[in-house]
Symmetry: C4
Subunit: 277 residues, 4 copies
């Protein structure tokens, strides 16, 4: 990417995704926990499925836009990859980013198939997400050859978050609906997002002096900084989770379930998708 | 191996194995899922066992042929290993390949014992497959000393697929019959197969110019290429799975079960082997 | 930290924590095991919760004191981090230690929320403890650049204990109340504590000659020493566990349960928190 | 150790241990499988416990003899460790080997406490065995500094078997009585034993020429050799398992259970220890 914007853009996308997921999983967990006092009014199985379809359509849209943008921006490859006159590869970075988008797009398509058509095992959506994150980390891993010390270090730190997400998504394939795994994944998504911004500020400072990329004390500061980002991400997830939990509970107290007969009928169809493994 | 053919041959074998396994596991999964509408007509337990015996006989045959071929080809070792006159090892590569075949042969023999004689725990067939893949990766790992950068890199990428298969086969020892693990293993088998072809094209291009084996941009392109191979393998597995699932379902609708009494009798004996852990 | 005291202080804290945890888990396990002969008199669910709140308040207090002390000791940073006149980072070590304390403080706060307010999933306290240990190990890992061989080696050995604790705490998130995991974690906590003392004696010997930090035989001796510390920690945990187990059993024999009716009422509310996952 | 005998001795011990364990686990598995035709006559719970006590007494005895022998052989340390006149460590290798024996001795003591006194959780015996193997591997890992290439390589290959055993013993802590894990551990024990002999033959050839320790083709041959040792170990375990299984079955057919009433009484007390987790 090589620019401040090129890091701020994915950073913002991951921050939005992290906040969205935190909200979604907190809400679903609060609803599951308060089933006995009629919480299932708020989320029938059909509405959950609509939510998943909406979410994955948005991811698919952004992946597609990302792929097209990487190809057709001002100095993009326009589907060229090899320069036959000078005999070397061109635009490798654009193609690598497009490949990352491709895998997130594939994950979204599989999720749509899983939730809309129900033609595949449910756990496949998490596996594909895990593979998409793994692929992102894998391409970053072989991206770092020959850069300066601090540049390599900040990207390596990013890889902790990326491979962490991949690992947790794969664990969720087997332990679906475990709220602790879900919130941990949200935390790492937020961490990845805010760390992309940090990388932008460190490598391409929009104002102020350049950083010395070979100073060891800078590297130690950056490592500590990563811990602070993690603490901040945990704080955001914690506050969001508590807010949504208490909102669901207070709303349930204000509006008691009207008819028990009606409720029972709803409940049967309102079971969470995650419980139908 | 050191030749285009030497990489294309195992590549083709793994591609065929990957497609065969994808078909088998998709079919068995479709049958398990549609049990309640009479799918068990298509695969009684006895026919499943015959399938396993057939499959492992073929693997055993090819392993044996492979071992013999490695020993008795034109410039093969003919069971010699040490040159006493010049005091050094000869034909180490042929012997290493024969050792790889040996472990796949052992896995096939154990599978035959497990499925034909039922004298050993069922999960042993996956464990032996995992050990065979692990052994393959292990021998490749210490195979790479002193080669050029790109040569080492393409073989390291191959190891991701090989050790991935070993790991998943070991997981299947404990979670047998999990369709997600099975399809993931098929994907990695296809990836290994197509990547063997890619290695052949890169290191021994049958036509066109040689690749510069020490150019860093070649290495970055190859890394991205690996992602594309993975995406392609996932696509093949996905299409095969969906085709077979819908074929099973449509055939079940056309030919409804004739007699329920008969069916129940069949069902009792038609249980999948995997469920009798 | 760079002083004998700076290693002896955390060493003592971890030793105390290790002994406290060993006692706590041994007692709870002995009570669970002897439920049928009335052991639950000794630990109702309410008293368990009070214990957890007490423990985490103490941890929170020490974390806060630690953070403040690191900032405001004689030559501390007093919240300064960057020297604008000389343009470099100052007091990085103090800030890193404060960050470590911060994560243990966060873990204590989350534990208090989990056990006092019951507003979050129970397993979260172990996850946060695991993250706190992981963060400690992570900061130590990037702490070692450019030191002498033996200095690096003793800190690497420390990391085995730290990451071991992180790993086991994460496993406990899924297998809560497994006494083997709990005692193993206690053993590693004691190991970490006594190893901090060892590091102090090796790098900053309070009396006697300096160690040669680049002598290979010193390194081999230290490695063996680490094994002895581990054996010693296992011994302490073993003796404590056996003492507490037999004390609980002998006390139960001396004072038989008075009234069965009363007991049954107590038992209902006396269930261990860990069983209410 | 530095001698042919010094490698042949532990090699023989591990070979004997591997064959003993294979026999034990095969027998127990055959008895569990054939319970319904009266196999429990052959192994009541009391006799199983006696077997464990016998086995661990033997291990304890050999560990003690090993520790004493390492200290008091002709040129041993006799409990000296530091040479105060020349100011350096002496006899580090003897002390390291004694430390390895110490951990196996500790594992045996804990096993005796677990099986004889029943004062501790059953799974602890496997955990201690895992820690003993881990400790062995750990000391070997930091044992290799500054040796020649082939010397390092053969010891690294040994570590695969050692850490493999440690890992499987730890897995058995959670999945006790899984015959596949047990036989896999036996295979690795045999592999470790035969590989110790191989190391002796390579580094200290009792007859014939010395090996060139820096020749790369030697290293490749040794790697392949390791695969053959593994195949051989698997063969031995497989043959032993099949022999014992069929012996148990044939003996059961010859001597049918005499009285059903008597049998039922026995069966109640004859349950395998492993099932009483």
């Amino acid at each position: 990417m090589g620019s401040f914007k090129g890091h701020a853009l994915p950073g913002s996308l991951f921050l939005v995704a992290g906040i969205w997921w935190t909200g979604k999983y907190s809400l679903l967990h609060a609803i599951r926990k308060n089933k006995n006092i009629g919480s299932t009014r708020f989320a029938s199985r059909a509405s959950q499925r609509r939510l998943e379809i909406f979410e994955n359509s948005v991811i698919l849209f952004f992946s597609f836009v990302g792929m097209v943008a990487e190809q057709f921006v001002a100095d993009g490859p326009r589907l060229h990859l090899y320069d036959f006159t000078e005999k070397h590869w061109k635009y490798l970075h654009n193609w690598q980013h497009a490949t990352m988008y491709l895998f997130f797009g594939l994950a979204a398509i599989v999720s749509l198939i899983v939730h809309a058509a129900e033609a595949a095992p449910l756990a496949l959506d998490r596996l594909m997400l895990g593979i998409a994150f793994f692929n992102e980390g894998f391409l970053f891993l072989y991206h770092l050859h020959g850069r300066s010390m601090l540049d390599v270090h900040v990207h390596q730190l990013l890889l902790y978050a990326v491979f962490g997400q991949a690992l947790i998504a794969c664990l969720e394939t087997f332990h679906r609906g475990n709220v602790i795994l879900e919130l941990l994944r949200c935390t790492l998504t937020l961490l990845q997002g805010s760390w992309f911004w940090e990388i932008g500020f460190v490598l391409y400072p929009p104002s102020g002096p350049e950083w010395d990329l070979n100073d060891h004390s800078n590297m130690m500061f950056i490592t500590m900084c990563y811990s602070w980002h993690l603490a901040f991400a945990m704080l955001v997830v914690g506050v969001l989770y508590c807010t949504i939990s208490s909102m669901v509970r207070s709303r349930l107290k204000r509006t008691p379930p009207v008819e028990m007969g009606l409720l029972k009928m709803q409940e049967r169809d309102a079971e969470s998708e995650d419980e139908n493994l």
